[in-house]
């Protein structure tokens, strides 16, 4: 056969059709059989080769698959089947961009192929190629005008492009063609979607008319009412809106939003008016909670007291454990905390003396648990006000009353944690956990507290009570995308200095987000088919901003922090030896120590190796187990050892930063971290940009000040940068020519700051002056002397790393260096001028020393400000270390902001890389802080006796559960805790001792 002839005779052609069918029906083995038959006679038939490849891919034989599909394609470049198959293969590997190209090629050869068009449209919406999506949807609409999906998809493509009028036109045409049944959910959804587009288009009048016209056909009555209420409010027709919100409240008395909207509709402005409204509703719905809770936000003084009394009494009598949580928001308003305290103590007194909340009300029953909830509330109240000891005393009274109320142990944990007693907190919640081991909430809470106390193994063991058997808890929690756990774990590892493990957790969280975005794929077809159009559009919009989620924020912030640290102080394999004082050791000791270190390291490596093997095995198993997992191509393994030795930590940090810049620009730390990254990248204009953004978010934040100081110092020391001659790498330049003498001088180390231990990164490039936008355009002088405009940060970063190697060997001086240099210097001058201007307008000076002294003088009594002034001082001149430490650690009574968090931040600074204070200085600060927070473990020079047992046992592998069990049973065999309740005391005395006879009898 002519190898170029790709047309099969009838017999083989029917075999080929059967291959297709087998593929659709997932009969891969049979498919291969038929493919073999065709290829026996026509070994070069491209489409058969491609289909065979696709089938093999489904069986997990990816490499063969790619080879065959490529070969098939080469044999028949004009076949839409071959291109389509190649696209499908790429899609299965999540290479969506590549897949789109393949589909487009396929369409060149078969432009009306519905299947390919549909597949293409899915990829386009997934990649948010909205223009492309609209074109494809148009094509599908043309080809299949009778299909419902054609109309919807086409309309939606316009909607997403904000071309509302076209979208509405199509939707209205389509609506007319729809058959209406009596209860037609799909028609109803279409109407609501149509209405949504109208509202988004700002066509409020039309939307109102539309919904009034079709209200009978809309099944979701609540949404219909809500839309009308909102439209009427927006159209400034409050009296009509009122009607709808009243109806909605009648349907659901507990929706806070309805009441607030009703307030708006009634145009209530004074507190009295609002209180009257809620009074009406309280009378109307005697059991409703919201109309009683909301007025507490507005009322003050005696009015508030009159409202609070019945509210509190009802909750206390009913026994509502989260009463404090319910009322906590009132504590921000002046006087309300005091009032609550007064009332609660009054109740406590009443209950103690006569057993009733209200002694005058003789008719009421004595509710035994009432005093319990009063005590519980007061304990939380005092903890909130940082009166730890009072809180604990009250809580103990509650425990003596009802030791079986599990919430009490959790509150005890919260109180202790707030006071910094992390291990005590773990003990308390562990007790709660053992009392009800079926409670997953308490289980998770315990694990989370354990992680706060850095007890990682114990936390995993705790979680393993609820994770799938047969895999480690860690693995299972990752599969389940349990992000709170992974983030908490990451922080624990970070605190323990295990950066590799911490980064692994951060990357896993990041991958969950990628996965969620990929999972979106299935919904493109599903939602269209089910006509859940509003939810679908909401889903698309959610996915667009997915990484604004708090879990991502947490993981990204930590990852960036760690990568910056790894940049400043990379892990070398001798680091940890330096950390330990080997100087004082005798040679024998040292030898022993080294041997032990080696052994440890070997053991660690072995462990890692084994783990890796196991993971591999598990993966292979997965591969064999079937097709489902094939849709998730194996990802690069996250190996802690490698992660903490990144080739380019700054680029890694940038990867985590970008989503934050895009999605969370309203957060200060997005920009402060951006600044820190750009500082290390030697990018003054990007630094300036980050600082400006930070300034517009929160200009008074103390941390921003330090960044300003760092920046001004950088400018002073490093700008204007000197011109660097373009160079080539040694590999490229066979005969390196030395630099002209005038260039050599500029190669001196950059004196920026101690973040740049190896600052040979003098740039042979400059920042363009008009890069106030996100893009940092920058001219790069390559050896071929072409000006390469790198238009985004990634490329920029790459060129940066190249730059350092390029400096090593200069290029042939075939260019006019003098002209280049003049150009460079001119631009650099512009940069300096811009910075000068902007900084003067932001902070009023370009002198970092003056800026810092002014800042300190202005905020002389605020602890967080003093810390930042001290940090700045160290950055400016490390000789000032003693003064800086003195400023940061002054915590006399006149200093404000001496809370646990701020003190802890100071301590971390003292111990960290930036300061590296002496052990004596650290100890001094700890003991001073300890006076303020006597229970906080971080300020203890040694752990308290009572806790050490727990710590050692819980940290010992796997012993956690055991240790806590013994702890609790230990309590049981020992004497009961001090009991104040009279009746119990009496009882205890009565049965003072264990009665041997009785026990014997009981045991039979």
């Amino acid at each position: 056969m002519d190898p170029s002839n790709q047309v099969l005779p009838t017999k083989e052609n029917s075999l080929f059709k059967r291959i297709l069918k087998c593929y659709e029906q997932k009969q891969y083995k049979n498919g291969l059989k038929f493919a073999k038959q065709v290829l026996q006679n026509y070994p070069n038939h491209g489409e058969t080769q491609a289909m065979k490849g696709l089938t093999l891919n489904c069986l997990g034989r990816k490499e063969e698959a790619y080879q065959l599909v490529r070969q098939g394609l080469r044999n028949n470049l004009k076949s839409h089947v071959c291109w389509h198959v190649f696209g499908l293969l790429q899609r299965s590997d999540k290479k969506y961009d590549e897949a789109i190209k393949c589909y487009r090629n396929a369409l060149k050869w078969d432009k009306d192929n519905l299947q390919i068009l549909r597949d293409l449209s899915l990829l386009q919406i997934q990649m948010r190629d909205l223009e492309g999506y609209r074109e494809t949807r148009y094509k599908l609409f043309e080809l299949r005008p009778t299909h419902r999906a054609s109309w919807i998809g086409y309309a939606m493509s316009f909607h997403l492009l904000k071309d509302y009028s076209s979208a509405l036109k199509i939707l209205e045409e389509f609506r007319k063609t729809m058959q209406k049944n009596t209860y037609d959910y799909e028609y109803s959804e279409l109407l609501l979607y149509q209405n949504m587009v109208m509202r988004e288009a700002g066509l409020l009048e039309e939307a109102l008319e539309h919904i009034n016209t079709y209200k009978e056909s809309i099944c979701d009555k609540v949404t219909s009412l809500e839309i009308r209420g909102e439209l009427l409010l927006a159209l400034n027709r409050p009296t009509e809106a009122e009607k709808f919100y009243r109806v909605l409240i009648d349907r659901n008395h507990e929706n806070k939003d309805y009441y607030l909207k009703l307030e708006k509709a009634l145009e209530l402005s004074t507190v009295e008016q609002k209180l009257a409204l809620y009074k009406d509703y309280s009378l109307k719905f005697p059991r409703a909670h919201v109309p009683r809770r909301l007025p507490l936000n507005y009322a003050t003084g005696e009015v508030l007291e009159a409202l609070l009394e019945p509210y509190l009494q009802k909750c206390l009598l009913k026994g509502v454990p989260p009463l404090f949580t319910d009322l906590q928001s009132l504590y921000d308003q002046p006087g309300k905390a005091e009032l609550l305290e007064t009332l609660m103590y009054r109740y406590l007194h009443n209950l103690e003396t006569c057993g009733r909340l209200d002694p005058s009300d003789e008719s009421s029953d004595k509710e035994p648990a009432c005093i319990l909830f009063v005590l519980m509330y007061l304990a939380e109240h005092h903890s909130h006000l940082n009166n730890t000891e009072t809180a604990l005393k009250l809580l103990q009274r509650a425990l003596d009353h009802t030791p079986t109320l599990i919430e009490l142990y959790i509150i005890k944990g919260d109180i202790l944690k707030r006071a910094g007693d992390l291990l005590g907190a773990v003990d308390a919640v562990t007790e709660a956990q053992t009392l009800d081991t079926a409670d997953r909430y308490v289980n998770s809470k315990t694990a989370s507290f354990m992680l706060s106390a850095n007890l990682i193994q114990a936390a995993q063991d705790m979680c393993s009570k609820f994770t799938r058997e047969g895999v480690s808890a860690m693995e299972n929690l990752n599969e389940m995308q349990c992000m709170w756990f992974q983030n908490d774990c990451a922080h624990a590892y970070y605190r323990l200095g295990q950066y590799g493990m911490a980064l692994k957790m951060c990357h896993q969280v990041d991958r969950h987000f990628t996965e969620i975005i990929e999972d979106q794929f299935d919904f493109h077809t599903y939602c269209m088919r089910k006509m859940t159009l509003r939810s679908y559009v909401q889903l698309l919009r959610l996915e667009d901003v997915l990484r604004s989620n708090e879990f991502y924020w947490e993981a990204a912030i930590l990852a960036i922090t760690i990568y910056l640290r790894l940049h400043d102080k990379p892990i070398t394999d001798v680091t940890f030896e330096n950390d330990i004082n080997t100087v004082d050791m005798s040679p024998a000791e040292l030898k022993k120590y080294r041997a032990r270190q080696r052994k440890n390291r070997k053991a660690e490596e072995r462990k890692q190796e084994e783990k890796r093997k196991e993971e591999k095995k598990a993966e292979q198993k997965k591969k064999q187990s079937g097709q489902d997992d094939l849709e998730n191509p194996p990802q690069e393994e996250l190996i802690p050892h490698k992660l903490e030795r990144p080739a380019d930590p700054i680029n890694e940090a940038l990867n985590f930063l970008r989503p934050l810049q895009a999605l969370l620009p309203q957060r200060l730390h997005t920009h402060l971290l951006a600044f820190s990254i750009h500082l290390r990248r030697n990018k003054p204009l990007l630094m300036l940009q980050s600082l400006k953004r930070a300034w517009s978010v929160d200009r008074d934040h103390p941390e921003l000040h330090t960044s300003f100081v760092q920046f001004l110092k950088y400018c002073k020391d490093s700008l204007p940068r000197k011109y660097q001659a373009p160079v080539v790498t040694p590999a490229e330049s066979a005969t390196p020519v030395p630099l002209p003498s005038n260039e050599q001088g500029s190669n001196k180390p950059n004196p920026t700051n101690h973040h740049h231990p190896s600052n040979k990164h003098i740039k042979n490039s400059k920042d363009n002056k008009n890069n106030n936008k996100d893009k940092n355009q920058r001219k790069n002088h390559h050896h071929n002397h072409q000006n390469n405009i790198a238009s985004n940060n990634t490329e920029n970063c790459k060129t940066d790393t190249n730059a350092s190697t390029e400096i090593i060997a200069p290029t042939k001086p075939s260019i006019n260096l003098e002209e280049e240099e003049a150009n460079f210097d001119a631009q650099e001058a512009v940069v300096v001028a811009i910075i000068h201007e902007v900084m003067t307008s932001l902070v009023g000076t370009v002198d970092p020393v003056k800026l810092n002294e002014d800042f300190l003088n202005k905020n002389n009594e605020s602890l967080p400000h003093r810390l930042q002034a001290a940090r700045s001082m160290m950055f400016l001149d490390s000789v000032q270390k003693q003064r800086a430490i003195g400023i940061a650690t002054e915590i006399g009574d006149h200093i404000k902001g001496r809370n646990l968090e701020n003190l802890q931040t100071v301590l971390e600074w003292l111990e960290g890389l930036e300061c590296e204070a002496s052990p004596e200085e650290i100890l001094r600060f700890k003991s001073q802080s300890q006076k303020l927070f006597p229970r906080a473990q971080i300020f203890m020079s040694e752990l308290p006796q009572s806790h050490t047992t727990t710590v050692t046992t819980t940290t010992a592998d796997g012993a956690a559960a055991l240790a806590t069990t013994t702890a609790v049973s230990g309590v049981i065999t020992s004497v009961a805790p001090s009991i104040t309740d009279d009746e119990i005391t009496a009882n205890c005395q009565q049965y003072d001792e264990v009665i041997v006879n009785h026990v014997n009898h009981v045991d039979g």
């Binding site: 648990a369 319990l372 079986t404 009565q990």
Partner: protein, 157 residues
């Protein structure tokens, strides 16, 4: 005002610690692990009492065949002090009585009560228990050391 909700629940490995804690507070006796192991096997003979979803009482019994007779022995039946006189003891004892009612082979319920424990004596008398014997020096180290044996015979038709 409405009374709190009172109900009985099973003892399971998940909540057995609550029973231990309760017994520890209500009785001075520290029961050993075997006691609780048996309780887990006891089925309807061991119950927790809940007041508004919080454990406040517990009852543990076993079948005694010592004197050639199948009898039900109440090992512990107790309620946290603040929650007494609300009918929780009654609910637990009623549960035990119902159990015996259904078992044709049990004709007798008995237990030990310290002679000075008037509250408990009153409580059991309400349900037709009678003092059938007083064991002197049944208890060691506490006063009074004597215990009444309370018994109720169930007549079955």
């Amino acid at each position: 005002m409405k009374r709190g909700r009172i109900e009985l629940g099973d003892v399971t490995p998940h909540n057995i610690k609550q029973l231990k804690l309760l017994n520890q507070v209500v009785f001075p006796v520290s029961y050993n692990d075997k006691f609780y192991k048996d309780v887990l096997e006891a089925g309807e003979l061991a119950k927790l009492a809940y007041y508004n979803d919080v454990v406040v009482g517990g009852v543990c019994c076993r079948i005694d065949v010592s004197e050639g007779q199948r009898r039900l022995y109440i090992m512990t039946l107790g309620c946290l002090a603040p929650y007494r006189r609300l009918g929780i003891g009654t609910l637990m004892l009623q549960h035990v009585l119902n159990y015996v009612e259904k078992d044709a082979n049990i004709h007798c319920i008995f237990l030990h009560v310290q002679v000075s424990n008037d509250g408990a004596l009153d409580f059991y008398r309400n349900f037709g228990f009678e003092v059938v014997e007083t064991k002197e020096h049944y208890y060691k180290r506490i006063e009074p050391a004597d215990a009444h044996v309370l018994q109720k015979t169930i007549s079955k038709s």
